[in-house]
Every structure is written in C-alpha cells, then in structure tokens.
Symmetry: C2
Subunit: 337 residues, 2 copies
C-alpha cells in the first residue's frame, strides 16, 4: 500500500530555516536577492522537509501559471504529432508546460476545452480550429491566442499557404496529360480546405481542366476509402486529396477495385506526412508542421512577454513533392476492372 505525503508549506520551511516566509519564496524565485549562505540554508531545509512550491498558490498570486494550451482537432491525424512535439520543445526552452487538448473535430468540444483551459493557461494556440470566427474572436478577448491555419484579421496567426504547392500539383497533372481531375475535400470549417479548394479551382481553370469536388465528412482514412466511388463516377483520371490520410484511404479504395496506381489513376495528397509510408509512395504537397508548431509557440511567448498583441500573419510556403502515385494519364480512359 502506497502512502501519500501531504503538502509541506513555505512557512514550515521558514521555521525550520529560521527565516521569514518571504525569504523562502525568494530563495526559489530570486536567489540573487539573498546572501548565498541564507539561500543555501533555506534550500537545505526545503530539501530535507521535501518542500515543493505550490504551483496553484503561486499562480493565484502572480497570475502566471507557466502553462500554455494547445488545442488540435484530431491527434490521430499524422499532421499533428510533429507539430505538437515541436511546440512542446519550444515551450520547454522557456520553461513553459504544454496542455494538450483534442476536440475530435467537434466545435462544441473545442469550445468547452477552450473555456476549461482559459484560467489555467496563460495563452492558447488553436490549431486548425473548427470554431466560427465569432467564437474565436470572443475567446481572444479572454486570453492571448495564436491561430494555426486559420486566417482571422487582428489575431496572430501562422499559416501553411498551400496555394503554391497545390498549384504545382495541378500543373504536374496537366503536364502528365490529365484533363479531368477531382478534389476530395476536407472539413467544411477548415481554412486549409477552403484554401486548397480555391487553389485547385484556379489551377484547373487556367489549364482548361475539368474539376469535380467530392465532399467528405472528415479527413480520415475511412472517409477517403469511401469517397472512391464518387471519384470514379466523375470520370476523373487523377485526384488531389485534402490531406495524406484521405489520400491513403483513396489508395486503398482504388486497390480494392483493382485499379492500379499510378498506371490507371494518379493521386496527390497534402501535408506530406505519410511520405514513403504508403504504397506506392505518395506524391504530396509539402508542409512545415514542425516549423508551424515552433513558430506559433514562440509567437505566443513573445506576446506573453510584451503584453502586447500585434497583428501578425506568418505564412509559410509549400511545394510539390513528386513520388510514385502520379503518372501519365491512361491513353484511352480508365479501364474499370
């Protein structure tokens, strides 16, 4: 049976060391304000008593908790883990702690989480938020906010600008002779989705290609797999997917119908997180999830330090990474198995 020790307080340490409470406090936060020997004596006493500063009490008094919240729509999506890792590393450098929240693509859950986090964190990073602009603006009045892949004027944001990469993807397909293509889209509330969709539209128009849009409920492997029938019905010979996960699902769906990629059909993902993990290796639009995570946190920390919200809009560029899922359009249309 495990015994639990109960919180030893600052005053007990003060008594044990024969000093005032404030000195103990200083020994931990401003050792340079005490004589070295006093610090030493206090630390020794604290050590033997097993004193550990009470984070909650400190936060109540200073208003600083040393935590920052990071909320993502779906940890299971391979786009986020690297971002999260990078965020954590960056936060760590300034001795901040990341509280991670997962909304399961659910705006209500996201709203709830933000409310729950506010008050325990000094600031919040919202990645690929599914909330309305109004809700986000409302939250921004409560605490410092940084957005990832969401473009709201007046709120600091860091964006992966897919347009260049997506444009290259369309060019790539056009050069391979594809005339009819499809875009398997992502969540309606996703900024990235809107952005990618219009980039494709622009590219297709420019090259006189026929474009169909296939909706999906959420960016998942399963959704991609189930979108395949709809894709095939459009008569397209190539598809661009909202993200790599969806693309991977499409890959499987095609294989199940004995359609060989890239011989019979070409496919391009976005985010480039599955890279060579799929078979065949997926052609995809690069991203910078690591940089984005790092930059967002660094921005937030700057804001926390300066107490001053500038209207920053940090956009990162993208490009196409060609691998093995794209090839010449089939010469006489798709051979359905």
């Amino acid at each position: 049976m495990i015994k639990r020790t109960k919180g030893v307080t600052i005053s007990q340490v003060a008594d044990a060391a024969g000093v005032a409470r404030s000195s103990v406090s200083r020994a931990f936060t401003r050792p340079d304000m005490l004589s070295p020997e006093t610090v030493e004596r206090i630390l020794r006493a604290a050590e033997t008593l097993g004193y550990v500063p009470n984070h909650t009490a400190r936060a109540l008094s200073t208003g600083r908790h040393g935590n920052i919240g990071l909320i993502v729509p779906d940890i299971a999506n391979p786009f986020f883990p690297p971002l999260i890792q990078a965020a954590q590393t960056e936060a760590d450098r300034s001795d901040f702690c990341i509280f991670l929240g997962n909304t399961a693509e659910n705006p209500k859950q996201e709203d709830k989480l933000v409310g729950r986090f506010a008050g325990q964190v000094e600031g919040l990073v919202l990645a690929s938020s599914r909330l309305s602009d109004e809700r986000i603006r409302a939250h921004a009045t409560q605490l410092p906010l940084v957005l990832i892949n969401r473009d709201i004027e007046g709120i600091p944001r860091v964006l992966i600008d897919s347009s260049a990469g997506v444009r290259q993807a369309v060019e790539h397909l056009a050069n391979l002779g594809h005339r009819k293509i499809a875009y398997v889209s992502g969540p309606a509330a996703s900024w990235s989705n809107k952005q990618r969709r219009s980039a494709i539209r622009a590219g297709a128009t420019a090259r006189g290609m026929e474009l169909s849009i296939i909706p999906t409920p959420s960016p998942t492997y399963q959704a991609g797999r189930e979108a395949v029938d709809a894709v095939l019905q459009t008569g397209a010979s190539a598809v661009v997917a909202f993200d790599d996960l969806t693309a991977q699902g499409i890959l499987t769906g095609l294989a199940e119908r004995h359609i060989v990629v890239p011989r019979d059909f070409s496919i391009i993902g976005c985010d480039d997180v599955l890279g060579a993990v799929t078979f065949p290796a997926l052609t995809s639009v690069s991203n910078h999830s690591v940089d984005v995570g790092r930059i967002a946190i660094s921005m937030l920390l700057d804001i926390l330090r300066s107490r001053n919200v500038a209207d920053v809009r940090y956009a990162l560029d993208t490009k196409l990474v060609v691998r093995d899922t794209t090839a010449d359009a089939p010469s006489q249309g798709l051979q359905l198995g």
Copy 2:
C-alpha cells in the same frame, strides 16, 4: 486590435446583486442552499458582468482542480491516439479535464512532466511509462497514479496481456512451416516489450523453432526499416515485430530489397492499429487501446472519489488477427534479390 477583458471577481457580482460574496459562491456550488429568487438574481448579475469562476483560486481553496494528467511516450505512435480519445471521453463524463503530456520516449522528460503536472492535477495516468520502478513509486506517494502497461505491485494498473496473442502468432508461423524466426524488439524500458519477448521465447521453444532477437532504439517506422538487414542476416523466414509501426517499417525495408511479402517472408505486428492501412494488410496481435484508456481513467476517478488506493491489476486478453502478411515458409529458403 483585440481588447482583453480583465477578470471580474466574485465581489463585483456580489455588489451588483446586492448580496454577500459567499452567496455568490453558493449560487454556483450549492444553489439549493439559497432561495431560488436569490440564485436567479445572482446568476443574472454574473451573466451580465461576464463573471466566470476563477479556477485557480477555487483549486487553491478546495484542493480540487478537476484536471487529470495523461502522459504518453509518443503521441505519434498510432497506438496512443485512440487510447487518448477514450480517456478524454471517459473523463468528460465526470466533468474532468485531461492534460496530455508527451515524453518523446525520454525518461528525463517524463520525470519533468510528472513533476510539472503534479500540483495541477488531482491524479495521473502513466501510459507505457519508461521510468524506473523507483521513480514511479516515488511519484505515487505524491499523488494518485494509475499505470497502463506497466506492472508494479501496489500501484493500480491496467495491462494489455499480449502473451496469448503472441503465443498464437508463433503457433501460426510454426503451422505455416517457419523454422527460424526473429523478434524485432521495442524499448528496453517497456513492460510490453519484455512481456512479448518472453512469450515469443516460450512459444519458439515449445515448437522447437530457432529465435533471434533484434534490438531497436525505439518503436518507430524508421527503426523497423533499419532493422531489416539484421533480420535477414539471421536467416529467419518470418518476423514478429514489437508493434505495428515497427512492422510497417520492416515491410518497407523488405520491399526496398525486392523481397515479396508474404511469398518470400512473413511478418506479424503487435497492437493492430495499422490494420488494413498497410500494404499488404498486416497480420497483427489485437489490442484494446480504447478499453484501456477508458478503464484507466475510470479507475483513477474511483480512487479520487474514495480517497482509497486499492491494489488493482486489470489485465485484458489478446488474440491474433490474421491478414495478408503471413504465408507458408518459402520451400528452399529465402531468395535474396
């Protein structure tokens, strides 16, 4: 430019409603102790002032924060996201909030995180901890702890018992005619790894098979891919991998060497999280990451309610799920490309 509103306190609400501070407090925590009309009046005042209870102050006073921490070694490993989701859902049912921490497989980082979380959470779930028994025991004296996939007597734990499933895997390979097999292992500090390794050893011995153990630095796609040379040098015709991620890496490594799975080589994963996502679809040992997440949280909540740590050991069973990466052993040995 976004303006930030500053914390409206309980006393402001009290003034506005013409009551004492304590009444406002009660209106939120024990409405049944006030007259309905008073409650109504207070809530109205709070609403218009935009009052929101200060979580930190409340926690300081009550010792209850309504948070529980969940620490995992690697969010990027597909084993964890479903577990995390389930944990979050279960916590939500009791109106608790999950703080997620990621240790990047680093014991020092894990130790740091636990220290950082303790004091802001009421209890902690450590999933696949890489800490030593001593450290875990030490932490357990500080706050309620529940372990996932770590078997320490005296500390509540929920375990996925792979032995049955792994045993079936070995039987399966034996029946297919494989005589020499290899185990590509996981982290040294992993309880699951130790357990799986001994299950394989027992099975191989029982069927008179030759077994080689290949170490890896961490359970990742990359590690699996890099382990392939070592695997091939053992002369094995089949391999069991510590987890699906490693197995997927091995799959790629084999493909790169033009070794066709399952014709030339058989492979089995563990955790069954990549299921049909790989190509060919991976034969794997089932798991219950969802149940494990749910159960661990539910256990912790029980402990928090009863203030009483029982020595619970909850073990879940596993079985083999056969898909397309296992087949008869090649009749005249492996044809190296």
